[in-house]
């Protein structure tokens, strides 16, 4: 670099590459269908994810109807029940949560928050969405295939996943599921490389890594993790597809099915489990880290206070991301793997609790001595902390190898992971939608409807999943369409019915949210620019909502970190990142 900084005192480096305009749409198709604008792709991703998420929501109602009132609904056979739980789990984890955090929020927020005009590879970004869309179509097709979708459980454990005792095992179900996952991973890899390169290469002048909002840190780290973790699922899916269609035996030992010797031999079902969880555990954090990042920003903005311990928060995200690659076999304590692995994986798993706990402390220390505005994003953030804390703590039971032995495969596990990676991240998604809706649409969501939505969802979800732990403690196994057993007292059936009623109520509240969304899009109160008085860059665009190219003629220049709230001596209670008027008050940050 030979050019000189325009102002040697500002510490702002010169631009390293010319500011190129992002590709413009030339017609109806390239504007509205095959758009290359990250903001539009974000909406396509989110819309598709929420649509398929609605299918998962309806499936959860069917699951709870069966569990709460066994025998009442004749159409829910054991086959159907297993298909429901399988598709519910897979849709929620992969097609909703992963897609909406990375494809949705990632696409919308990364370029705006780092001061870029768009993603660095807009064409690949467009392809990424359409691969995802194809994956969703194949997934939906399996509902209409002969024999229906697979009922192997979302973990798809062989041998049962590809044998006749499981719905979809010898029909189309499992094949379409695996093909859909393969398409998803191809699509995600295109998107993920794009997000990572954009964060590393397209930040505007002055936007050092340690000035990025935690939202970007969370999404960036999750993206890098996903790029490393999804290939394990990819190869597992391809190998299982070969076992199913070509008769290979990667995961299939010699076995006798219903008295028939099958021609498989020599494979290992446990190898699949290692591959699956080598993906599956990082996947938990692929969903959690963007939520951690986003919630940090929601709390800071709405408590008018910088996020407490920003640097520690960044390192915690990175350390959690790294550690999450050496904890996977805590899902396999009773799988039959060598028992000595238990010592190693229990230790690594409990170590990960330390940086995670630090994040919880720092969120609360941000509230401490803040100026807490109880807006909807703040309410959802508080709801997140409670549910995440609860779910994180029960993780200490399941991670501690010997405590996991009685609890594994019971409803305790179901309650734990729903609390920690179902309810908690979804609280953040809602908080984020209430927070960024004005940026995206130029209007505010209805506060009154939002309050009903928040209280029913938060209290209701807690009422579903907190008591469910105790159903598991009694000993009720998961994946049972009817839980009656000699050791299960009748009162558990009553509790189950209560949980089901709570679940249906929470489900109904989501319809209210969709109504609020659609109604406010048209009739919502017009939002003033930067309605939450946020300091981060995405709110400082020349127009709100931001136009194609985001920044008008000149790219913004960043002078400070994203958390300059309530700075003593400042003229107002926030200083925007691109505001050159005030000296950088916090000397620790470069």
């Amino acid at each position: 670099m030979s050019s000189v900084s325009e102002d040697p005192d500002s510490g702002i480096p010169p631009a390293e590459v010319p500011d190129l305009p992002p590709p413009h749409a030339h017609g109806w198709w390239s504007r509205w269908v095959f758009s290359q604008d990250a903001k539009y792709i974000a909406l396509q991703y989110s819309g598709t994810a929420i649509a398929i998420g609605m299918v998962a929501l309806v499936l959860s109602w069917l699951i709870r109807m069966q569990l709460g009132f066994p025998g009442v609904f004749d159409f829910i056979s054991a086959e159907a029940y297993y298909q429901f739980i399988t598709m519910h789990g897979m849709i929620m984890v992969v097609y909703l949560l992963t897609a909406i955090f990375l494809g949705g929020f990632g696409n919308y927020l990364i370029p705006l928050m780092v001061g870029a005009r768009d993603m660095v590879f807009p064409f690949v970004n467009m392809l990424s969405f359409w691969m995802y869309f194809a994956a969703v179509v194949v997934l939906v097709a399996s509902f209409f295939a002969p024999g229906g979708p697979t009922g192997a459980g979302w973990t798809l454990y062989p041998p049962q996943a590809i044998l006749s005792g499981t719905p979809g095992g010898t029909g189309w179900g499992i094949v379409l599921m695996l093909v859909s996952l393969i398409l998803f991973i191809i699509g995600f890899t295109m998107g993920g490389l794009n997000y990572a390169v954009t964060v590393l290469q397209a930040r505007t002048r002055g936007m050092t890594l340690m000035r990025m909002p935690l939202t970007v840190w969370g999404i960036f780290t999750a993206t890098v993790m996903a790029l490393l973790a999804f290939p394990a699922l990819f190869v597992a899916a391809v190998m299982m597809l070969f076992d199913r269609l070509l008769g290979t035996s990667f995961f299939m030992p010699a076995l006798v099915e219903m008295g028939q010797q099958l021609s498989y031999g020599g494979g290992s079902p446990i190898v699949f489990q290692h591959l699956f969880w080598f993906f599956g555990h990082p996947e938990v954090y692929i969903v959690a880290l963007p939520a951690f990042g986003i919630v940090s920003d929601l709390i800071a903005v709405h408590a008018r206070k910088n996020i407490f311990g920003y640097r520690m928060m960044v390192w915690a995200i990175v350390i959690i991301g790294a550690l999450s690659f050496i904890v996977w076999a805590h899902h396999m304590y009773v799988s039959g793997m060598h028992p000595y692995f238990g010592f190693f994986f229990a230790t690594t798993t409990l170590i990960i609790a330390v940086p995670t706990a630090l994040k919880v402390y720092n969120w609360i220390l941000t509230l401490w001595r803040g100026d807490i505005h109880l807006t909807l994003p703040m309410l959802f953030a508080l709801g997140f902390i409670v549910t995440f804390l609860n779910g994180g703590l029960t993780g200490l039971f399941l991670g501690n190898v010997v405590v996991d032995v009685p609890l594994s495969d019971t409803m305790f596990v179901v309650a734990h992971f729903h609390m920690v990676m179902g309810v908690a991240p979804i609280m953040v998604i809602f908080g984020a939608i209430y927070h960024w809706f004005p940026l995206i649409s130029g209007r505010m969501l209805s506060h009154r409807l939002g309050l009903i939505h928040f209280w029913v969802t938060f209290i209701g979800a807690y009422a579903i999943f907190f008591p469910m732990h105790y159903v598991g403690l009694v000993g009720v196994p998961r994946r049972y369409p009817d839980i009656s057993a000699s050791f299960v007292p009748d009162s558990v059936a009553t509790l189950n019915a209560f949980i089901s009623v709570a679940a249906l109520t929470v489900g109904a509240a989501q319809i209210l949210f969709l109504f609020n969304f659609a109604w406010s899009l048209r009739y919502g109160r017009k939002a003033e620019p930067n309605p939450w008085r946020a300091a981060s860059l995405e709110w400082q665009t020349p127009e709100m909502p931001p136009r194609h190219g985001n920044w008008g003629k000149e790219l913004p220049v960043v002078y400070r970190w994203a958390y300059e709230y309530s700075v003593p001596g400042a003229s107002r209670d926030f200083i925007a990142q691109d505001d050159p008027g005030h000296p950088a008050s916090w000397s620790h940050v470069p």
Binding site: P159, G165, L255, P269, V334, A353, A357, D371, V386, G475
Partner: protein
């Protein structure tokens, strides 16, 4: 105000539910009280953290909620506070992990005087095999499984001849005698799960897995499958009966041995050949 009160109510509800609800684990019937103890330690530590964090949060929301004129305190970070919190958390984690690992060591170390038995799973029922007078189980393999030999016992292995085979029926075990439970599956993954024993382990086709325990009270206990194994998963049930040793012996005397089954013919021939050996 409402928000802070709700957070306090959530704490009260959670603690109250834990202490007063009727839903708790089944009375234990094995030596794995250690596991229950570790679980209770974990409940106390995590419960204390949950109560402390949520109550502090409720207090913050109450004390620092927005009022006209309030200005947030500006303090980017406090290294000292963060290090204290990390140290305390690490201590709490160690207090849970240490007993957990000690008990895990016991869990995977089978005592020398344990009797070996075998549980075989297939879609969707349980079979069992107990050693005969020689005190040891014969070898087995998938290749020998057929209609007459549903457990795939090696017909050429003389240790298998006196093995007691329970193809449909309940398992009986004597009180107070440690057992190593060898687990096999002939088709897909299963998991031999008796809630009162606390111990469980997956059964994997192509492998023999195990756990061990000592029955500590008599009674009938329901067996469930705890690893999804297809549409019959929820109805794959059975019973284990823990008997006084004398009741167990008389039950054992009534059972069929492998040599008594049609497939046991080869063992009978082999044994005869061995006996006639000079």
């Amino acid at each position: 105000m409402i928000v802070a009160a709700s957070l306090v109510l959530i704490v009260l509800f959670s603690v109250g539910f834990h202490l007063f609800s009727p839903w708790w684990w089944t009375p234990i019937a094995s030596n794995w009280g250690y596991i229950d103890t570790t679980l209770v330690i974990t409940f106390w530590i995590t419960g204390a953290v949950f109560v402390a964090v949520v109550l502090f949060m409720a207090w913050c929301v109450f004390r620092y909620r927005h009022k006209p004129g309030r200005v947030a305190h500006y303090e980017p970070e406090s290294r000292k506070l963060e290090i204290w919190l990390i140290a305390l958390t690490a201590l709490g984690v160690a207090a849970m992990l240490a007993p957990g690992l000690v008990v895990w060591k016991r869990f995977i170390t089978v005592p020398d005087d344990a009797t070996e038995i075998e549980v075989v799973a297939q879609q969707w029922y349980w079979s069992y095999r107990l050693p005969g007078v020689d005190g040891r189980l014969g070898s087995s393999g998938t290749e020998w499984i057929d209609f007459d030999n549903p457990l795939g016992i090696n017909p050429h292995d003389r240790f298998g001849a006196d093995d007691v085979v329970i193809d449909s029926g309940d398992l009986h075990l004597p009180l107070g005698q440690p057992v190593r439970v060898n687990l096999r599956s002939v088709d897909v993954l299963h998991d031999f799960y008796v809630p009162e024993f606390r111990a469980k382990m997956d059964m994997v086709p192509g492998m023999v897995t195990y756990f061990w325990f000592t029955p500590t009270r008599t009674g009938e206990f329901e067996v469930l499958c705890a690893e999804l194994c297809g549409v019959g998963h929820g109805v794959m049930r059975g019973y284990v009966s823990i008997d006084e040793p004398e009741d167990f012996d008389s039950w054992l005397g009534e059972q069929v041995t492998f040599a008594g089954l049609p497939a046991g013919g080869a063992v009978r021939v082999a044994e005869t050949a061995e006996e006639s050996d000079p």
